[in-house]
Every structure is written in C-alpha cells, then in structure tokens.
C-alpha cells in the first residue's frame, strides 16, 4: 500500500522542530494498543479461515444448506444443489474453487467499506495505530493516490453486494426444507442461516454508500419525504456499522463452518420439525 514503514525521523510530525519538545511518541497511559491489536487479530483470523475454506473447494453443501462462501456458485464444477444457487455462467473452463469467483464481491465490498478501512489502516498499517500515537511512517498521502484512491469505488461493490445478499436470502428460504427437499421444515442450520442473512442485510444496508444513495446526496430532504425517511432508517443502522460489520463477518464464517461440519459428516443437523 501507499504507506511505507520507514523508521520515524526525529524532525517530522510530533518531533518537528516547531512543536513542543517532547521526545515520547505519545504519552497515552491507557492500553491504546489493545483495540488495533484485537482488530488485527480478528481480521487475520478471518482471512486465514476464509482462505482455507475458499480454496478448499469441498464441504460447502449439506442439503438443504449451502455455505455463503459458495453462493451463488458460478462454475460448472460446483456441486449440484437442488433448487439451489447453481448459475453456471463460467462454464467448464474454470478449474479452481468456485468460491474464488463470487468472493471477489463481498471481499471487495468489505475491503473498501469505510469501517473496515479504518480497522485495517489502524490495525495493520498503524496509520495511525491509535489516536494521538505517532505513526511509524515518514510519508503519508492517504487515499489521494493509486492504489488507495480506488477506495472511491466502494459504491460499486455496494451495488454488487445487494444481488449477492438477494441470492443468500434465496438460499435461506431454501433452508426451510429438510434434507429430502421437502418444504416446511427447520433445523439448527436454518436458524443460523436466518441470523446470518439478517446480519448480512443489516450490514449491507448500513453501508455509508447506501446511506448516500438513498438520500444523503440530496440537498433538500423536504422535497423527498420518502427518501428522507429511508435515509433516517439507514442512518440508524449506520450508527451500528462497525458492530454489524463484525457481527456479519462472524456469522458468515459460522454459517460456513456449520455447513462444513455437516458436509464433512462431523454431526447431523439437529432438526426442529
């Protein structure tokens, strides 16, 4: 990324010669490193887990549940899922895990998300590590240049995230079947899928780009009462964007892991009815 990792020089930033001569990089006495460390650890754990699962190309379907990592499944090498999200757009030439095709979109959505940006700029790039803690970089150009200027395409990932969420909703509906594809049944997996899709939608709709598109771009709310009301609702969700980002990240991993456990035969889905 655009920020390097040079050692701090004594005459820059808080050590600039015009500023109060204080040698410490920061004087914070609280555990300021905890939040970025926890963030980095959490994100790293997810990256490792999802990489393993995405490249795994196995154990992603256990009727009637499909892992959200593999939905929609866009290649011919996908497992057939009855009534499920098999959309063989990519044909047979695709030999890798079909998850890699679709994961680009949610991954891009989250990578360019305003919350995740904060999280990884702080957690991974220490830019800044925490408020009023000097960052270890000599130069900083933020999101003014390539590649970080590409963060501005966040809205396109939002547009893409909506149909993905629609398909995952469809998957959730399919989860109200039993393993023989008979309707009107529920298992533990159904509950997990429902929780996951609710969180996915909440996270998607709480996105800052969504808030902008739905009404934030307007100059006169009074002339668009419906969009104003929607903007208000999205705003309420948006307050919780960080919490929703983590909750949906965890839920999507859990949903996938649950399917993995079922598909690999660790245990059977406890059926409710």
């Amino acid at each position: 990324m655009a920020t390097g990792t040079e050692r701090p020089q004594l005459n820059t930033g808080v050590h600039d010669t015009t500023r109060a001569a204080i040698t410490a990089r920061h004087l914070r006495t609280d555990r300021w490193w905890l939040a970025p460390a926890a963030t980095a650890a959490g994100l790293l754990a997810f990256v490792i887990y999802s990489t393993w699962r995405a490249f795994g190309n196995a154990h992603y379907y256990a009727a009637p549940y499909v892992s959200p990592f593999y939905s929609p499944c866009l290649a011919e090498n996908c497992e057939p899922m009855k009534g499920g999200p098999n959309l063989e757009i990519f044909g047979s030439w695709w030999g890798l895990s079909p998850a890699l095709i679709i994961l680009i979109f949610p991954l891009g959505f989250r990578m360019t998300c305003y919350y995740y940006r904060k999280a990884y700029y702080r957690g991974f790039w220490a830019s800044p590590p925490a408020c009023a803690v000097a960052e270890p970089h000599k130069k900083y150009s933020g999101e003014t240049r390539f590649p970080l200027i590409l963060q501005n395409i966040h809205r396109y990932f939002f547009y893409a995230a909506v149909p993905v969420a629609v398909i995952l909703t469809y998957d959730t509906v399919l989860a109200f079947r039993n393993s023989d594809y008979e309707w009107g049944h529920m298992g533990l997996g159904t509950i997990i899928m429902v929780v996951n899709i609710v969180l996915i939608w909440a996270y998607t709709l709480s996105c800052h780009s969504c808030r902008h598109v739905i009404g934030g771009k307007l100059k006169h709310f009074s002339k668009h009462p419906v969009r104003y009301r929607l903007w208000g609702w999205v705003g309420k969700l948006n307050h919780r964007h960080m919490q929703l980002a983590w909750a949906s990240l965890i839920s999507v991993a859990l949903a996938d892991f649950y399917v993995y456990l079922l598909a690999s035969g660790v245990f059977d889905d406890p059926r409710l009815f």
Binding site: T12, G13, V14, D16, T18, R19, A20, A21, I22, A24, H26, L27, R28, T29, D30, Y114, R117, K118, Y121, R122, S127, P128, C131, A132, V133, A134, E135, H137, K139, Y140, S141, G142, E143, T144, L148, I149, N152, I153, H154, R155, H208, S209, R211, H212, G216, K217, K219, H220, F221, S222, Y228, N238, H239, H241
Partner: protein, 287 residues
C-alpha cells in the same frame, strides 16, 4: 443576620450571602482534598521539559482548576489558554495523559489519586509557551474555504428553509473550534508537510456544512464545493480513522456525517461514471 464579615482570604468558599450559614461552612470544608502528582510541560520554541508538581485537588474539580491553582500558588507565569470554563468556547485545548482534551471538561475524578497526570500542549501545532500553541494554521485554513454564497434574488427576510433541510448543517455548526480534531488528525499531526494541502477535519466539515446548506448558491457561481473538497482541501488525505470524532467534545459525528458523506459526494462528481453520465444527460434534457 446583618452582621457582615469583612472578607478575608481564609474564608471558605461561601454562598452569595455575606454570612455563610453554619451548614455551608461545615460542609464545604474540603475534607476530600488530596495532593495530586502532575507533570506539566513547560518551555517554549527553544525547548522545554515536563516539570513535576504536587498540587492540592478538591472534590469536583477539573484539570483546568488545578492548572489555575498552579498559577496562583506555584507558577504565576504558567501559560494556558482558557476562556468560558464551561466547554462552550473551545479555548483550553491541551493533551492530558497523551489524549487531546479540553482542560475544563476533564474531571479530576476520572483519575485515580495515585496516578501522575501529564499535561502537555497540543502536539500538532507550533509551540508558543507552556500549554499554549500557535493555532494560526486553523485560521489560515478557515480562510481558504470559500464563504457561504447567498442565493441571488432572495432578499434578507425572505429566506425559507425547512427544519429537516438545515439539521445536517446545524450539527456541524455546533463546532466550538477547539481544534482538537485538527490536533489529533495524524495527517498533519504526524506529517508537517501535509499542512499545506490538507484543511483538516474541522474545515472539511465546514465544506460539507456549506455543501449541505439548503440555500448555498456556490454552484450557480461556478464553485463546485465537491471538486474543491478533493482538489484544494485535501479530502483524499483523510483515511477515515475517526480520531476526529473520538476527540470531539461536542460529540459531532465528524467522520460519519461530514467526511464520509463528502467523500461520497466527491465520488459522485469524480469517480462515478454512471452518476456523471446521468447528470450530463439530465442537464442536457432539462437545459
């Protein structure tokens, strides 16, 4: 009742009356006072250091009270900026235990009695003396943001705006210009050289405020506040790490309500071909 006392320095803080009631004088004796350890940065552009002080603290006091006590008893020339002492003017900005804060809004009760409290000047601006810094950067940036453009042909008294349309800008106008956000923002705090090209959260928020003002006519005069936000005020430097929001004593959601919406508006103008095309077509058809 009328026997009045000549005031002396030893009188405990009394009420508005001339003779404190017995109840007053007994309960206001500072039974809960203690001696706190302070480190206060003293110095000027030539250099300086953290000086140790032991100073009395009474119940209910804030850090600014302690600084004032230091002035009155131990260091009469200790420089500090302050004014209203009620969190409304934004003068007494400093850093307490390394965090940008208002001295008047930091209660002593938030620290333990054993803790050493470190008070330094703002570390993003040039030092003047002790706790006072040169904040002219902010006034320079304020001048670089083009002012409100009144709508042509609308006389004073004829302005009509709906409450829902002014509320977003009103939130930003709660700003007391304490410049804590400007101080904490790593873009300039950690990179002096960015000061020329970056207006800082407070003044990017000012751009957002004007862009959301229901009657601002900048666009009619050919001034596109979205374009200039990116090109002249350095919005792109912001990496939305939210320290400005964290330090804002007014609780303004600077990042979520001003900077990110402004980034989205910039994206409309500069990075979204669809919106750009749509506007082009609409302008052609309506124009």
């Amino acid at each position: 009742m009328s026997a009045s006392t000549t005031p002396t320095q030893s009188t405990p803080p009394s009420s508005a009356s001339s003779t404190p009631s017995p109840a007053t004088s007994t309960t206001s004796t500072p039974a809960t006072s203690y001696e706190a350890k302070f480190k206060v940065w003293r110095g000027d552009a030539e250099g300086g250091e953290l000086k140790d002080f032991a100073v009395e603290v009474n119940e209910g006091e804030v850090v600014l009270d302690i600084i004032h006590r230091l002035q009155a008893t131990q260091a009469s020339d200790l420089a500090v900026r302050w004014n209203c002492k009620a969190g409304k003017c934004g003068s007494c900005s400093a850093e307490i235990n390394g965090r940008p804060r208002l001295l008047c809004m930091t209660r002593m009760s938030t620290f333990t009695r054993e803790e050493t409290i470190t008070v330094t000047p703002l570390r993003a601006f040039p030092i003047v003396r002790d706790l006072v810094t040169n904040v002219s950067f902010n006034y320079q940036k304020a001048r670089e943001v083009p002012a409100f453009v009144p709508p042509p042909g609308v006389a004073a008294g004829e302005y009509r705006m709906q409450q829902v349309d002014v509320e977003r800008s009103q939130e930003f106008r709660k700003c007391i210009e304490c410049f804590l956000c400007q101080d904490t923002c790593h873009v300039v705090r950690d990179h002096e050289e960015n000061k020329t090209s970056f207006a800082g959260p407070r003044f990017l928020m000012r751009v957002a405020e004007l862009d959301m003002h229901p009657l601002d006519a900048a666009e009619e005069t050919g001034l596109d506040r979205k374009e200039t936000a990116q090109d002249e005020h350095g919005l792109g430097y912001c990496n939305i790490t939210k320290c400005c929001t964290e330090v804002c004593p007014e609780g303004i959601k600077i990042t979520d309500n001003a900077l990110i919406p402004l980034k989205e508006r910039v994206a409309d103008k500069k990075y979204d071909p669809l919106v750009w095309l749509g506007n082009k077509i609409r302008r052609r058809t309506t124009g």
